[in-house]
């Protein structure tokens, strides 16, 4: 991610060309400013995971897998299940990715995606407490980024959402104060489908779903996530450029509008899972 920015030689000519196109409302790949690249959503791709999804946006490709286990609740939320989101930009995903623990970009990625899921209350974490204060469901969502071509935030977010929405977890119940396996595999308590929309400012233009090439020349990035009820639930401005107040309000509006479109697409992608 940042490696991409640093390492791709930002050809000034290419940027000039890109800006010229954008000033006419066009992009290098023919899209309009507010068009996404094709999005594919494939679920149940990892049989050993309780939920999984492979999502591609253009050439960006991500797999999310969900493991559900029992765990101890956090002391400050004794009556809630655990949700842990991790992301790794694998070294096979780009010539600039390196093996090793997640760097600041991968940590930001995981945390922004986590916030979208958590703050939208996609999962009813209260229903995931078995013995409040003692024993709760622990939902681990791990993301392996396989190919990077821009907009990791949205690709990862959609993969996480699709994997969670199609998860069938090992059922437990409490009998006489003891946690017992039921043998059933209920779905997670899904309440809504959050959708993140990532926008880039390049010069004076705001575009959605930037490619790696566009990210290399963008001034600022903003990701806003909406829930299914018209609320914004997470936001993150990124990069060392600025946004005007008008840009922010435009981004808020755009994230809701595009969010509705993509929510439909995700709903179809997760199929029978009722959300």
């Amino acid at each position: 991610m940042s490696a991409v920015k640093k390492s791709i030689v930002v050809e000034q000519l290419r940027k000039a060309q890109l800006l010229q196109l954008l000033s006419k409302g066009n992009r290098m790949d023919g899209r309009g400013p507010l068009d996404y690249r094709p999005i594919t959503v494939e679920t149940h791709v990892i049989e050993k995971a309780e939920g999984s999804a492979r999502v591609t946006i253009g050439n960006t490709q991500v797999i999310a897998g969900v493991k559900v286990d029992l765990g101890d609740p956090f002391p400050d939320t004794p009556d809630k299940g655990l949700l842990i989101v991790n992301a790794e930009v694998l070294p096979l995903a780009s010539p600039y990715a390196e093996p090793g623990p997640p760097d600041e970009d991968a940590i930001e990625l995981a945390r922004v995606v986590d916030r979208g899921v958590r703050e939208s209350q996609m999962l009813n974490l209260s229903e995931l407490a078995l013995l409040p204060g003692k024993r709760v469901y622990a939902v681990f969502v791990d993301v392996s980024v396989l190919n990077v071509d821009g907009n990791l935030f949205d690709t990862t977010s959609y993969a996480v959402v699709a994997a969670l929405a199609t998860t069938r977890m090992p059922g437990y119940t409490v009998v006489n104060g003891e946690v017992k396996k039921t043998g059933e595999t209920p779905p997670l308590p899904i309440q809504t489908i959050p959708v993140s929309v990532t926008m880039a400012r390049i010069g004076d233009v705001i575009i959605v779903d930037p490619t790696s090439e566009e990210e290399a020349v963008m001034d600022a990035r903003i990701t806003l996530t909406s829930d299914g009820r018209g609320n914004l639930c997470a936001g993150q401005k990124g990069q060392s450029g600025t946004l005007t107040f008008e840009h922010v309000m435009f981004a808020a509006q755009t994230s809701r509008a595009k969010g509705e479109e993509i929510r439909e697409l995700l709903r179809k992608g997760v199929g029978s899972a009722k959300v």
Partner: protein, 244 residues
Amino acid sequence: MGRLINESGLRVDGRRPDELRPIKVEIGVLKNADGSAYIELGKNKVVVAVYGPKEVHPRHMALPDRAVLRCRYHMSPFSTDTRKNPAPSRREIEISKVIREALEPSLMLSDYPRTAIHVYLEVLQSDGSSRVAGISAASVALADAGINMRDLVVGCSAGKVDGVVVLDLNDTEDKEGEADLPVSIMPNLNQVTLLQMDGMLSSEEFSKAFEMALTGCRKIYEVQRNALLTKYFGTSQPSQVEEE
């Protein structure tokens, strides 16, 4: 009417919805640093040191046309209710990144090619909105270090508690409220340099909270200015405003 807003519309610490906590900014508090500042915002206590421009290590990280900016936001183990492990958490790593990106637009980094500028923020006590308090202090410390700037950067948060849009969330409001929206701006250039959000805000609430955060920023900017004037020109304008 809920736990966080009482029947008089006042908040847990007695503030009105659009009221800042007491704020204090001091400059030049650390002798070794090239620039330094200290901020208290409510119970937040953040000290910031700037070192640089200085040599870049390792050298191959130097940029030929501008300075490298490095930021570290760190919490002392005793700064929180429960002891914090001193190793950097994922949260601290993310916040260090967004603070760097919030400060960078204000700095004339191309005036210092092949150097590094280090900004260290140490949260001695944390009480909600420590990142924006830290940004406000860091910008003043950068000015104290004599780094060429386009504008100061000033940060403030808004959010929602018990359904009410409020300014400058404290710890309780941050943890138990419905939404938090930290923002930083360059006040003279009218540019947003940091924006994060978590929680749930409708369109109208988002607009209102964003506006409120901008207004809060402008109030804190006055405190920054006064602190700098006092330090460098010895003016008598108070650098501490209980509530202006």
